[in-house]
């Protein structure tokens, strides 16, 4: 480590010129990136600080943080936030367990490996909207096979608890294969010798899994959970098709859509988008903190 720092201090003139050229060559790409991703973010922050309803364009004015106060003191936001958190936590937790099991199966399968992997990935290959529609029809009273089978005289998609349950199931069904795929890549990182050594050292299957496999797979697990949590937090299409947010099943994205596109309220809509952005950033931050040095790109990782 110290050697590295000393080396950095004693950069020669040529090295420095080379580095400057590197920055210059990167600059155009960086500028485009900032323009494409940075500008919309800045613009939506700007919009969120204004009263701006397209139905009353004349009333546009700068109102500071009033929009935020309005949203954060409103039951709709907190309800949507709660729903989103519930869907995120439950679906990611279940997906992780199922995905891990599936990854282990795919990793260990000796015969028909290709077939097993392909068939496991089918749900992920189906367009979410199409899958969501098939779930909706399956739960439609009278014609849906699941509705007839499970609740012959109810309408599960019209009640809050059962509707949320169905949304979560649809979400899990769809993205477990993705989780499994990411975790399988992690499993491939665990050297066979390590598991053998643990077996000889006296570890049972569970201890091998917990003390050897999980720690070695930590970076892959972090990536899988982070991707899925951020994805699940922004859930939209399943809810849009299954309940359209009725009976208090709106997620934050759904709420934003209703305000921004349907309600034409650019101010409140932008405020909601910014809040989602902040929530996503906080989630990512917590994950990286939680997993510490195992995070991709951290110093420990780089040295290995």
């Amino acid at each position: 480590m110290t050697v590295l720092q000393e080396g950095r201090r004693q950069l020669s003139e040529g090295k420095r010129a080379e580095r400057r050229l590197g920055w210059l060559l990167c600059a155009p790409a960086a500028v485009v990136m900032v323009a494409v991703t940075g500008w919309p973010i800045i613009y939506s922050v700007w919009l969120s600080l204004q009263r701006y309803d397209l139905r009353f364009p004349a009333e546009r004015e700068f109102i500071g943080l009033s929009n935020y106060a309005a949203v954060l003191s409103n039951g709709f936001w907190w309800n949507a936030f709660g729903v989103t958190m519930l869907i995120t936590v439950v679906s990611v937790a279940v997906e992780f367990v199922l995905g891990f099991a599936l990854a282990l199966v795919m990793h260990r399968t000796l015969v028909g490996r290709g077939l097993v992997r392909t068939s496991a990935l089918i749900p992920y290959g189906i367009v979410t909207v199409v899958a969501a529609f098939s779930w909706r029809y399956a739960w439609t009273p009278g014609t849906g096979y699941l509705a007839n089978l499970v609740t012959p005289d109810g309408a599960p998609l019209t009640e809050r608890a059962s509707a949320l349950g169905i949304i979560i199931v649809a979400e899990i069904w769809k993205t477990t294969p993705f989780m499994a795929l990411l975790l399988m890549a992690g499993l491939a990182l665990v050297p066979e010798d390590l598991l053998k050594a643990a077996a000889v050292d006296g570890a049972g299957a569970w201890q091998r899994f917990r003390s050897v496999m999980l720690p070695v797979m930590k970076p892959a697990i972090l990536v899988a959970l982070l991707f899925r949590t951020l994805d699940a937090f922004r859930i939209f299409d399943n809810i849009f098709v299954l309940t359209a947010g009725a009976n208090e099943t709106s997620s934050v994205s759904m709420l934003t859509y209703n305000n921004l596109i349907k309600g034409l309220n650019l101010g409140i809509g932008s405020t909601l988008s910014v809040l989602i952005f902040i929530a996503v950033a906080i989630i990512a931050f917590i994950f990286v903190r939680l997993f510490g040095t195992a995070a991709p790109g951290s110093a420990e990782e780089g040295r290995r």
């Binding site: 010798d193 000889v200 050292d201």
Partner: protein, 393 residues
């Protein structure tokens, strides 16, 4: 501590490959036994079966008199050292070494005491709080050894533990392993493809080929009286020279000239009813520069003359390579040995005789060299079965 007995142990993989067939082996209590052979000979599979990492297809395995076939690795009370060291990357050296003890639910004080003890023996005290990623190859190797010895298991199984070290370190670690094993007196089975390790470390050596045990014996015995062509060619460096030979009325003719066999050799051949076509094997070190052999001995031996192709002077002695006017002797065993040594990758150069002469020999490259050998030292093999026909002498 315990003995290990393999009784007709076989391993057949689901795809039909037979990795080990009818391996019979008795490793005594405290004995250091080496499994050696070219890659794919089944030595690692055999070790894994002892460890319980591979199922035994048929046959019985006993450790300390107890049948172990169906026991999980963790219930066999053995420790294993891997070629890759297999250190847990997320644990410090101390945690790595204490892992088996913690799994065995020993109390903290005992764990700490045993780890410190092992660390002292292996000189790892300074490294106990480091992660494996921050250790050198030799240090990792010692940690792997440490993890094995902390438990005082019934037996150590070592799977090419030194193969990933560089040559110099390997020699040092070799002596350390040997000293450690003697000090601890624990039964050890050690797999290697390196015949120097095989010859120097073990009480006994098991030579394997294609899943079968070729010969079991102390290193010197394997060197002096190899049971077959394969063992003869595998043990010894540089390898034994092999040439085709023909036996007529006690006279052996080959590219090395005609040799009349001694009475004991003749009787041995007659007893094993040898075919007329044989393979003659003679080790490089059994040659001497004819000019350096005194008159009395010169008459009893055989002589061969050739133009030195290459002369390698090692200081202590000279390796002289003489081309032979014949094809390289070829049987299934010899071809496998040649492939293992990488000789098949070289351009075909025909047969050559490798001789190790005294340093005083005046041999130089391109010059005619006369070499002498004692016919008593030769081995004769049946080309069909590979059996050594001169063992009974």
């Amino acid at each position: 501590m315990a003995d290990i007995v393999l009784d007709k142990v076989s391993k057949k993989f689901p795809d039909g490959t037979i990795a080990a067939s009818d391996v019979d082996l008795e490793v005594g209590d405290g004995e250091f036994v080496i499994l050696v052979g070219p890659s794919g000979c089944g030595k690692s599979t055999t070790l894994n079966m002892i460890a319980g990492l591979e199922d035994i297809s048929s046959g019985d395995l006993y450790i300390g008199g107890e049948r172990m076939n169906d026991k999980a690795p963790k219930d066999r009370d053995i420790a294993m050292v891997f070629q890759s060291y297999a250190l847990y990357p997320n644990m410090t050296v101390r945690e790595n070494m204490s892992f088996p003890l913690r799994l065995a639910k020993l109390d903290k004080a005992t764990v700490a005491q045993k780890v410190d003890e092992a660390a002292r023996v292996l000189e790892l005290e300074q490294l106990l709080d480091r992660k494996p990623a921050n250790l050198s190859g030799g240090q990792r190797q010692r940690v792997a050894m440490g993890r094995a010895i902390v438990r005082s298991p019934k037996a150590y199984l070592m799977d090419e533990p030194l193969s990933n070290l560089d040559a110099k370190l390997r020699v040092q670690m070799r002596t350390q392993v040997s000293r450690l094993q003697k000090q601890l007196g624990t039964t050890t089975v050690y797999v290697t493809h390196d015949q120097t390790e095989a010859m120097t470390l073990g009480d006994r050596v098991v030579v394997m080929r294609q899943g079968r045990v070729q010969q079991v014996g102390p290193p010197q015995e394997l060197y002096d009286s190899p049971a077959n062509l394969f063992v003869a060619g595998f043990i010894g460096s540089p390898a034994m020279n092999f040439v085709h030979a023909r036996l007529t009325d006690g006279q052996l003719s080959s590219v090395l000239g005609d040799v009349s066999l001694s009475g004991s050799l003749r009787r041995a051949l007659a007893a094993s009813d040898a075919p007329a076509d044989l393979i003659l094997g003679i080790r490089p070190e059994h040659f001497e520069d004819a000019g350096l052999v005194d008159e009395a001995h010169l008459g009893t031996g055989a002589r061969f003359e050739g133009q030195a192709d290459v002369v390698e002077s090692m200081g202590s002695d000279k390796y002289v390579y003489l081309p032979l006017a014949a094809e390289r002797a070829s049987t299934a065993e010899l071809d496998e040995l040649a492939a293992d040594a990488g000789a098949t990758d070289l351009p075909a150069s025909g047969a050559q005789l490798v001789t190790r002469l005294s340093a005083e020999s005046p041999a130089t490259e391109g010059a005619q060299v006369r070499v002498w050998f004692n016919p008593e030292k030769i081995h004769l093999f049946d080309p069909e079965t590979g059996r050594n026909l001169t063992l009974a002498r």
